[in-house]
Symmetry: C2
Subunit: 186 residues, 2 copies
DNA sequence: TGTATTTTTTACCATAGGGTAAATTTATTC
DNA sequence: GAATAAATTTACCCTATGGTAAAAAATACA
């Protein structure tokens, strides 16, 4: 949804898992579970088979800031930790029961060895993700909070059934109270 | 600087250009030149051999919003246009005399055909770029304009010799007047 | 069905940053 | 080096959003 979709469908991924003996790990988490915490190494890509998740971090005052939301068939990871071995500052939270497929960097390398074309696919995923983030910065720089809110409703109406308004407010870069006021004035 | 560095050095790129007969195009632009305009297709990667450039777009009121700055040995492009064939909304401006090496998507494909490993390099470039953008969104959501300004000075002191304060203000997401006020209060 | 808990809204005042316009400083040009 | 243009600062008032705290509504629970 807010990160980019993997161009690879679930069935192919499951097929490759068997075919190349990747031993990918499955993980089921319940609504409300926090399946990765800040401070824990994030050395996997989390491919969401099913469900809905939120990625957030804490600001200096300890407030949760929603960084992005992720729907099924997309990937979440903590890029800082996965790519750079830096300390992970992100929390991954399941907003509904969620099925995950974990891919370690070693497994990813192996997969790409067998299917070099996949490297291209991942290159595109990363490029798309950069585009999404780029657009978001543009939106912050040119739109008011109200305009961003209205666009979010328009582009992701389902989000409002799954996430709390406080999650959405921090995703939009405002407080819960401000979002409430904006909603009132519409 | 604000996009990500190419892991490939200039000399290698020039070597490959000859070796694989890529026919990469060179382009020299003068300080102040706008070498790509909104509305023009951006179907190249612009590798900056030397110089310093600014990428900006116009908001609805016609104000220039600096989207990022680019130093030598990094790549600029309009992802929307290069990857998606969407209409380009970005302007590329040389803030000093700049030497560019243009790489079309066909040339990129050819290069990757000869050197498949490069696909990995570009995958990493895109991932790094996404990380830079991610960090920037976090910074917008957790820091005041003053804090962002101080961090920019600390991380990119040279920028202040090359860019105008109005460029930097819109990059930080504030008006020139606000930046001026912030500078006064320090 | 009533109680506890969580989420959302409301109200108050405080403040960072915006908008307009003019003054000042700095850079450019003839 | 005076004249012009461009960049930056300053000053004014205004508005969107923040912070705190409490009320109201919704949800979960027992």
């Amino acid at each position: 949804m807010f990160s980019s979709k993997l161009y690879i469908d679930i069935n192919k991924l499951i097929k490759w898992n068997i075919e190349f003996d990747l031993k990918l790990t499955n993980k089921s988490v319940k609504k409300g579970d926090i399946f990765l915490k800040a401070g824990q190494r994030c050395d996997h890509l989390y491919y969401i088979l099913n469900g809905f998740t939120r990625v957030y971090y804490l600001d200096l005052a300890g407030n949760e800031i929603t960084h992005w939301f992720c729907t099924k068939e997309s990937i979440i990871t903590s890029p800082f930790s996965f790519l750079k071995q830096e300390k992970n500052i992100l929390f991954f939270e399941a907003l509904e029961d969620t099925e995950l497929l974990l891919i370690s960097s070693a497994q990813l390398e192996k997969l790409i060895q067998y299917l070099p074309k996949l490297s291209e696919a991942f290159r595109h995923i990363n490029a798309e993700f950069a585009m999404v983030l780029s657009r978001r910065i543009m939106s912050i720089h040119t739109e008011t909070a109200e305009e961003r809110y209205l666009r979010l409703i328009k582009e992701h109406p389902l989000l409002f059934q799954k996430a709390k308004l406080s999650h959405i407010a921090s995703f939009l870069g405002i407080t819960q109270q401000s979002l409430s006021r904006i909603r009132k004035n519409l």
